[in-house]
């Protein structure tokens, strides 16, 4: 075979390796780099999405808040007892202003375990994992979470517990953004259930259960 042809073939083979090399590199990009986008058409469209920046507004935020002092239709939240846990003036309602049902308690348990248990612990006695870690780290600024099954909290009116969830208390921040009024009452009901269970005596058990335990 004439030499020029051999050279041309060799060059062709060498050139054909270049895309393969690029592909290999794209396959082995550093993890923190965006992946290769082969056909990028319309993947990223020019509209503003939730939680993104927006140069149109002074605060640079795409998601807008309702104007101050406005209330969406049907969202007035006028009932002080239900939405603020207040009976009159600054007196908290003693009891939960809703019918406590089994589904409500189940919901309360689920929400309690998500939002409260990290600090207060699943049994409510203040031994959550975050508390354990803060202690292990020797955090001087950490305040131990309240034991929700203590007599102090048992004696508190339901509205007080609701208000604590909604607005926070001392070093505990507000969980109003995470828990709707309905959920706050469900958690309040579950806290009451925890208090009942943690402070129960054998005498509180049904007769059959007591018999099964040999009491």
């Amino acid at each position: 075979m004439p030499r020029p042809i051999i050279y041309v073939l060799l060059v062709l083979v060498a050139v054909s390796l270049v895309p393969m090399g690029l592909l290999y590199r794209a396959n082995h990009l550093p993890k923190n780099q965006p992946r290769l986008q082969v056909v990028p058409d319309m993947d990223q469209q020019f509209y503003y999405k939730a939680q993104t920046e927006n140069p149109f507004f002074a605060d640079g935020v795409t998601m807008r808040k309702p104007p101050a002092g406005t209330v969406a239709r049907g969202m007035l939240a006028a009932d002080d007892a239900y939405f603020r846990g207040i009976a009159r003036d600054t007196i908290f309602v003693a009891e939960i202003p809703a019918t406590v049902t089994r589904p409500m308690l189940d919901r309360g348990r689920e929400r309690f375990n998500i939002y409260c248990a990290p600090c207060h612990g699943q049994s409510g006695n203040g031994n959550g994992m975050v508390h354990a870690r803060a202690q292990a780290l020797g955090e001087g600024t950490w305040t131990p979470p309240t034991d929700l099954t203590s007599q102090t909290v048992v004696d508190r009116p339901a509205g007080h517990i609701y208000n604590t969830i909604a607005n926070g208390i001392r070093t505990m921040p507000s969980y109003g953004a995470q828990l709707s009024p309905e959920d706050r009452w469900a958690v309040t009901a579950y806290v009451r259930a925890l208090q009942l269970s943690r402070n129960a005596t054998p005498a509180d058990l049904p007769v059959e259960t007591r018999a099964a335990l040999g009491q």
């Binding site: 393969m20 396959n27 993890k31 923190n32 965006p34 319309m42 990290p118 955090e139 953004a177």
Partner: protein
Amino acid sequence: MAPDNNAHDQGQSPGTGPDHHDRFVFPKWTNRLREAVAVAALGGVVYLVVLVAGVFSPQNSAIGYAPEQPVPYSHSLHVGELGMDCRYCHVTVETSARANVPPTATCMNCHKTVRTTSDKLAAVRKSAETGEPIHWTRVHDLPDFVYFNHAGHVQSGVGCVSCHGRVDRMEVVEQVAPLTMGWCLECHRNPDPNLRPREFVTAMDWVPEGDPAELGARLRAERKISPSVDCATCHR
């Protein structure tokens, strides 16, 4: 002149005459040119297939992306070690199409009093002071012509782990699923292996007792789940 030429044409064998350069004769190596071209063409096809498959493979386009974030937040510490639920921060995942990235206030729930001088949290404290949001880098990003709803999937009992992997073991969040159309359709055609009881949706380490497909089939029947595979399901 003419007789000379005639004598020359008839009397000489090709390539041996004094002016054999006037006529083209294929050299011997060209005898196998046809086979060589066939092999080259086959090789070219294989080459193109490998290249196109490689370029368009989901492994190439999505999996493994783990961008550096402005705050080195560790899911492996907060979820894996401390056992916090996904929903502690991603509050909207059950009710909204989008699983929100938490506001700085959520970090400050604990970090107001825990690790208050840590350098890693400097950006969080600054954000809390100034109200300027932290500029997180998005990891999982579907094309904008795809509609996806977190709430619908979570309410149907598709676990977080099915798409996001073991986030509780991730120091830096990494995309583990290809998030391609084929991958979506795979589950929409047969969701059973990815269905679980609602209460375990966020559990990272939950595995069903027995056959996952069997449990999935039961849950699917119970909840009347029938994922659509129409174009308009996602492209609306």
